[in-house]
Symmetry: C2
Subunit: 304 residues, 2 copies
């Protein structure tokens, strides 16, 4: 029997469409409804048969749904909640997949009627690509799905949503929303910001041409261009909604960078070596934890 | 007929051992001699039959060599040059594979007798792994090898060295050493520095545990740990020997980051979006230039 009788996914991009694929593959829903405002997304959603029903009306889409998943940029949550708030079934679970969690309650609660279980969630998974064609069902395999329910949230609803993520191949972690935002600030948000930043700095140089930046990018730069190619709207919304934790981590990053800069200026080789030596072990631990493949150079092919 | 009668590689780590493999595969040398001061490197060099002769004496190793390749961290160049300077064959070519180029003449010239062609070189290729076991012959395929000869360097010697790199699968670019150091500061040195730095910042946090950093690293952080796992001695020497260009690029990076930080603090979504949108195209151009594979998420497997 399906885990939920009807699931509605709002936003059918990389994450939403990957969810749709996984839900179908594992038969987690009796009926699967999708909704997306992007005109370019309609054709691939239909062509790839990602959902049972592609709705063009948000209120219709969520009608009778037992699980509603917001998979849009987080900046759209408030207005979606305002639209659907009075059309949700009593006892339904409203969740999301956004990269920030503290702000989710603020955006959703004012508009959602009582009797709906709001359980913010964040699958720590993705690629730099966007849109319904970019998704794939195994995106969540062996990745973490973090749920940040409020203390008084219905236990059964949380458990059912945990089962849902586990069925998609994820490990589930329950966490306080504020702590989530601190952890992700350092493991995801600040890394994206500095990747965007270095690519931007390189883009604007006068002395070094853009073609040289591209030509000689295999020296390390190209690694950063991957996450700097991520969805700009999604990331704008992340930074606008996790301001405090991002600014805090960014402050630490800049302090540390200033110390390294000073070591370079004063020719302090020992300080540089000590820093470069200690960071090496962390990658090994990430590989041992199953969060990265154990291959050199990300397994890039060298034998064409 | 072999391109050089005898080639000697000093330093048999990732790059030196990859060169040895490529030289053997393409029969570029009549005789291939290797030298490495690291005791742990001796066994794999012999076991893998990477060279015809593994020498334990630097002066013997370079004797009669037509091409001598320095593949050690650049900090060792001066003392090696001092040792071998008077033992090089007249007409031989002395080259290197280091990531900085302006300082190479300063380090080598004072010790090298006349009649030896000094041609600094830099293959823009590598992985985060070190040592003779990490090498492979196709490392240089479709990568750029930058040569930075002085204006008066013997044309035939430069051409022969270009042929050597092309035989290993590389494209050759001749460049001014100072310009090389600026280009690589942005495409390689600063990216490594900020990767080391973010991994260090994450390592030192109190509020977020190290196990959380590792667990949730798939949010972007793990990408940075790859180049932050590179050889610490090599990178210390790069920063000590490309101080000016690195500090200049780092200054620009920090200015740009401060602007982004300010946009986050003031909630300037348009500024963030514009920045994130413009960087997306650069990755596409790198892929189109053949310097990166056209696959999502570095081709990481998602279907275990």
């Amino acid at each position: 029997m399906a885990l939920y009788e009807k699931i509605t996914i709002i936003g059918m991009g990389l994450i939403g469409s990957s969810l749709a694929r996984g839900i179908k593959e594992k038969s987690l829903s009796g009926k699967l409804t999708g909704f997306d405002t992007n005109p370019a997304a309609q054709e691939p959603i239909i062509q790839l048969k990602l959902v049972d029903q592609l709705s063009d009306n948000l209120m219709d889409a969520v009608k009778d749904a037992d699980l509603i998943i917001l998979a849009t940029p987080v900046g759209a949550y408030s207005s979606i909640a305002e639209t659907i708030g009075h059309h949700l079934k009593k006892g339904a679970t409203l969740t999301d997949v956004g990269s920030i969690k503290s702000a989710v309650f603020d955006m959703l609660c004012p508009h959602i009627c009582e009797g709906v279980h709001i359980i913010p969630a964040h699958p720590v998974a993705g690629t730099e690509q966007s849109g319904p064609r970019a998704g794939f069902s195994s995106l969540f395999h062996d990745r973490w799905a973090i749920l940040t329910p409020a203390k008084n949230t219905d236990k059964d609803a949380v458990e059912k949503l945990s089962t849902f993520w586990e069925a998609l191949g994820s490990n589930v972690e329950i966490m306080d929303a504020a702590h989530h935002d601190k952890v992700l600030a350092i493991t995801s948000h600040v890394p994206h910001l500095i990747a965007y930043n270095i690519v931007g700095t390189a883009h604007d140089l006068e002395e070094v041409t853009k073609s040289e930046v591209i030509k000689f990018s295999a020296g390390g730069f190209r690694d950063f261009t991957r996450i700097a190619a991520s969805n700009p709207t999604m990331w704008r919304d992340v930074f606008l909604n996790n301001k405090e934790a991002v600014l805090e981590m960014l402050g630490r990053f800049s302090e540390d960078l200033t110390a390294l800069q000073r070591a370079i200026r004063w020719g302090d080789g020992d300080a540089l070596y000590d820093m470069f030596e200690k960071t090496r072990r962390i990658r090994r631990q990430i590989i041992d934890a199953g969060q990265e493949e154990d291959v050199a150079d990300f397994g890039r092919k060298h034998d064409e």
